[in-house]
Amino acid sequence: MLTIFLIVFPLIAAGFALLAKGESVKRIAFLFALVEFAAALYAIFQFTPGPAPQFVANYPWIASLGISFHVSMDGISALLVLLTTLLVPFIILSTFGNSYKNPSAFYGLILVMQSALVGVFTARDAFLFYLFWEAALIPVYFLAGIWGGERRIQITFKFFVYTIFGSLFMLLGLAYLYNQAGTADLDAIYALNLPAATQSWLFWALFIAFAIKMPVFPFHTWQPDTYSESPTPATMLLSGIMLKMGIYGVIRWLLPVVPLGVAQWGTTAIILSVIGIVYGSVIAIRQRNVKRVLAYSSFAHVGLMSAGVFTLSPEGLQGAMVQMLAHGVNIVGLFFIMEIIYRRVPTRELNQLGGITQNTPNLTVYFMVLLLGSVALPLTSGFVGEFLLLAGVFRFNPWYAAIAGLTIILSAVYMLRLFQGVMFGQPNEQTALFSDLTLAEKATLIPLVVMVFWIGMYPAPFLKLTEPSVTELLRLVVR
């Protein structure tokens, strides 16, 4: 029941948000998101360590077709539900300094999206999963299409075409699996022993959908545009949570479903991912728009997660788990920093910023900590995941690890360039008047910074949460 509550509650909250008038909707949405977070925390504390799916709810839905409303949480789901419910309150809180036209719709959509995301991470039925998968997209289309920047229509269209394209393949794959199993239930699908040739094409049908969502090279060209043109809260949802849908999809709906397909194509997927790491990083170095630097950095980081997952090693998968959480915290924090700067100096161009640190000891420190998390400095959030992911890739093939490892050099290059361009140097006319963080901004950043250090210094609780499920999953894949 708890799982259903976590899915349904944000929908109810969205209903309340739609009824609310004016700016007060922010606070209402925030409160609801906090309750949702508290419920998720409760679930985590109630969680019995072990691989078994928990908080199961399984009701026949379209019984005649073998489709059921089957949701549950194992450690992997629990971590992603935690990520989602943790980040949404911050994403809402980060907007307290902005005002959007038609706020009730804006916040309603964010909450609807949360509901769908939790659904994606907990569904154990192929039909249900697909439903939530598509439902998660709708709010983002609206958020980007209505509240986005100047080129929003054109860019949202590109995003739309891309994702629909991917989803069609996935639908095809899932429909085939459903047909073979005679039911849409995940366990039945896991139990299928499809011939290698079938798994081979099924791999691509499913992988393309997930690869577009993450995105993996070369399915990424929708991403930098969408990230930079969307309103920042939507960008945070996209980068902080939605890209994890792709990784999660691979872990839950690809690896154990088509193990023979993975055996055949896994190396290709790793190679594409590793190319993406270097490709994204090299491009990030040359970006002039601060949001695009972060967009390409996110693309590079997700490449490493994807590569790690396909190594089918405990290091790679556990690394991906902890890195999903860490990346969510880092990237949401960094996009928020960019928003804070945009509020004071309305430009995203790197060459129009600079010298901000002179007036802003607080901003400098928070920015620096989030940046260190992103460049994976040990004892901050990014390191644990990156270390494990690279270890996983190294186990798979040391040469791939050497190339993927370029991320630790290149991320330093583009992130320090960003930091120097924004914060250091002589202030210009506009940045000279820059004011330090407001209380609300601090309130948003402090917990994120705490998370950066927590994940970096003591990742054991997160690793322990997912470890049994990851072990179980590997047992299913490597059989």
């Binding site: 839905w61 379209i62 439903l131 598509e134 439902a135 709708i138 289309y141 609206f142 299409g145 229509i153 269209f157 739309f160 891309y162 394209f165 070369p218 990424h220 060209t221 090299v282 491009i283 170095i285 040359r286 970006q287 090693s313 405990p314 290091e315 556990q318 690394g319 010298g355 640190t357 420190v365 260190l372 400095l377 040990p378 004892l379 644990v384 270390f387 494990l388 690279l390 270890a391 190294f394 186990r395 040391p398 690890a401 050497a402 490892g405 370029l406 630790i408 050099i409 330093a412 290059v413 320090l416 120097q420 250091f424 140097g425 002589q426 003591y458 990742p459 054991a460 690793l463 470890e467």
Partner: protein, 648 residues
């Protein structure tokens, strides 16, 4: 047996006290009064030093038993178990004493030196953070904990080089240091992975015995591991080809140059090799590489040092060069000799930098030695201590540098007389450029402006007392490793000896007792001392008697001199072969590849889909809203239809 539990708290406090100091000064920055800031920062360092001394004593009293202090499990995945724990043995204790000891002196010095800086609190916070990281680096009982400290000191180095962050050149220097170090760090990281996957552990106490049984001498894997780790050492300890960041790092405040870029951080690479001595002993091929790179770096940097005119740049190249000597020592498996030089170098090089700081302070931030001269009258204490340090680094007895350098040279001679000759030539150059620096700065008459001359003054006691302490250490530090031939017992080598027990087992021949007779040893010593004195004489003739002053900027220099003066154009070379191509690649990928190739394919697929979907033309209104609404409606309808089955 030593009771381990008794020391857990002491060990934990040694790095964590500076961390607390960092937090206090970092969070309280701009709120805590200046006096308290300096006191907090220095007290943190001094307390750590006190605890280190206590621990050292306990260690000696306990019969030199090394032990591990376990704090908690950091990362555990599958077979990989990384615990947050510290290894206390001869090596970590020596490093602890250097770091906290020299660190404390530099903290005290900074109270005076940084007095008028607006970022005073920030400065002390960063210094304490550096101590924390450096202490983790040397205390960690496994490679990943060492790596935490390794990257942590890199961050502090970055923050302190770019301390005056309004200046773009300084910021670029800071960034360059961080990035070059990260190149090394990648090697280090891959080395850790290779160690883990071949030996099944990352703990020093498990890795080394396992390596001794698993690997034969010059096994391919052990060569790969040691080379990868050495790449890390090249970055951190500024060896060819990753040395160019260190001279630029002089942009940081001078106490930082003394602490981080001379005495402690840059010796981390040497520490790492000594820590992994079993692996290196198993890989003579790697040791050969280490020796050659060390020697080449020592010579290259020394030649550049001869023509530099910035007081800190001369010292920077001298540091690169001296680090080269240490690696040369490591390369001939003279591990404890290299450590000896780490220790004496920490004393005299910290002293030289602090002395330079005192000069810069007196000269109103002037660093060009062409505009100095005659300062000995105005800064008598600085001059006297600088002189001691110069004699020490030049390798003239009886000051400390002579003994440590000579011990390395002795081992080099046994290994290869050719290398010995080159090394002696290098130490001749060392002596020359150091006395050149000393004479140009302190001898002769003042060449700066009137304003500067009027302002000249000796530094306050908070600055001169650390100078005096370091001068005593630089003068007398040699007693730590006084060789037998001169009537000493080489305490240091004996103390460190247990660290190399395993190495001796796996390859006894690299540790055979010296086959040099005493008279041969005397001759070798005599030659190197004579070479140093000869260079001293040459410098004296040139810069004291003939009062030569290096040519001002913009003068046409002879080709070779011009080449060296411009540091062999290595920076420009790197810029052309790495930086520019990387940027061009970025532009190409973004400007051409990203938009033409990939988008064309995507749009092509889009168009193809469009063509095929003619059947559905009726629904293609081109309106996104329509698509989305129809999707929503569809989903809602499905939900509604099935709601019955769901509820009932």
């Amino acid at each position: 047996m030593v009771d381990l539990s008794q020391y857990t708290l002491t060990c934990a406090l040694i790095p964590f006290i500076p961390l607390i100091g960092f937090l206090i000064n970092g969070i309280g920055f701009r709120h805590i009064p200046k006096g308290l800031v300096g006191l907090t920062g220095s007290a943190a360092s001094i307390l750590s030093f006190g605890l280190s001394l206590y621990l050292f004593n306990a260690f000696l009293a306990g019969g030199n038993q090394s032990f591990t202090v376990y704090l908690f499990d950091w990362i555990t995945v599958g077979d990989l178990r990384i615990s947050f724990s510290f290894l206390i043995d001869q090596l970590s204790l020596l490093m602890l004493l250097i770091i906290t000891g020299v660190g404390s002196l530099i903290h005290i010095y900074s109270i005076g030196y940084m007095k008028h800086d607006a970022g005073y609190g920030k400065f002390f916070a960063f210094l304490n953070l550096f101590l924390f990281s450096m202490l983790l680096l040397v205390m960690g009982s496994n490679y990943p904990i060492m790596f935490i400290g390794w990257e942590g000191v890199g961050l502090c180095s970055y923050l302190l080089i770019g301390f005056w962050n309004k200046n773009t050149n300084y910021n670029n220097a800071a960034r360059k240091a961080f990035i070059m170090n990260r190149i090394g760090d990648l090697g280090f990281l891959l080395g850790i992975f290779l160690i883990f996957y071949t030996l099944g552990s990352v703990e020093f106490t498990e890795v080394m015995p396992k390596a001794a049984t698993v690997f034969g001498v010059d096994d391919g894997t052990v060569i790969a591991i040691t080379l990868l780790l050495f790449v890390g050492a090249m970055g951190k300890s500024a060896q060819i080809p990753l040395y160019t960041w260190l001279p630029d790092a002089m942009a940081g405040p001078t106490p930082v140059s003394a602490l981080i870029h001379a005495a402690t951080m840059v010796t981390a690479g040497i520490y790492m090799v000594i820590r992994s001595n079993v692996l290196y002993t198993l890989a003579p091929t790697t040791l050969g590489v280490v020796a050659v790179i060390g020697l080449a770096t020592a010579l290259l940097a020394a030649t550049i040092g001869i023509f530099q005119n910035d007081i800190k740049k001369v010292l920077a190249y001298s540091t690169v060069s001296q680090l080269g000597y240490m690696f040369l020592g490591l390369g001939v498996a003279a591990y404890s000799s290299a450590m000896f030089h780490v220790i004496t170098h920490a004393f005299f090089k910290a002293l030289l930098f602090l002395g330079a700081g005192s000069v810069i302070h007196a000269m109103s931030d002037e660093q060009d030695i062409r505009r100095m001269g005659g300062l000995r009258r105005h800064l008598p204490v600085t001059f006297a201590t600088f002189l001691v340090a110069t004699i020490a680094i030049a390798g003239i007895p009886p000051f400390s540098g002579f003994f440590s350098k000579d011990e390395i040279l002795m081992h080099v001679y046994e290994h290869s007389p050719v290398m010995w000759v080159l090394a002696v030539i290098g130490s001749m150059m060392t002596s020359f450029y150091m006395f050149r620096l000393l004479f140009l700065t302190f001898a002769g008459t003042f060449r700066g402006t009137h304003e500067q001359e009027h302002h000249l003054h000796e530094s306050p006691a908070s600055m001169t007392i650390p100078l005096l302490v370091l001068a005593i250490l630089s003068a007398a530090g040699g007693v730590l490793g006084l060789p037998e031939v001169l009537g000493g017992g080489n305490w240091l080598a004996k103390f460190m000896s247990p660290l190399f027990d395993l190495s001796r087992q796996v390859r006894p021949e690299s540790f055979t007792q010296t086959h040099l007779s005493h008279s041969q040893e005397y001759i070798l010593m005599g030659v190197s001392v004579a070479a140093a004195l000869l260079a001293l004489g040459a410098a004296a003739v040139l810069y004291v008697s003939r009062k030569a002053v290096p040519a001002p900027e913009g003068t046409r220099l002879p080709a070779l001199q011009n080449l060296i003066y411009n540091k062999y154009y290595v920076d420009e070379f790197y810029n052309n072969i790495i930086v520019k191509p990387l940027l061009a690649l970025g532009d190409f990928l973004y400007g051409v590849f990203e938009f033409l190739v990939i988008d064309l394919i995507v749009n092509g697929v889009g168009k193809a889909t469009n063509g095929l979907s003619g059947v559905f033309r009726r629904f293609q209104t081109g309106n996104i809203g329509f698509y989305i609404i129809s999707m929503v409606v569809g989903i809602i309808v499905i939900l509604l239809i099935n709601l019955r089955g769901f509820i009932l």
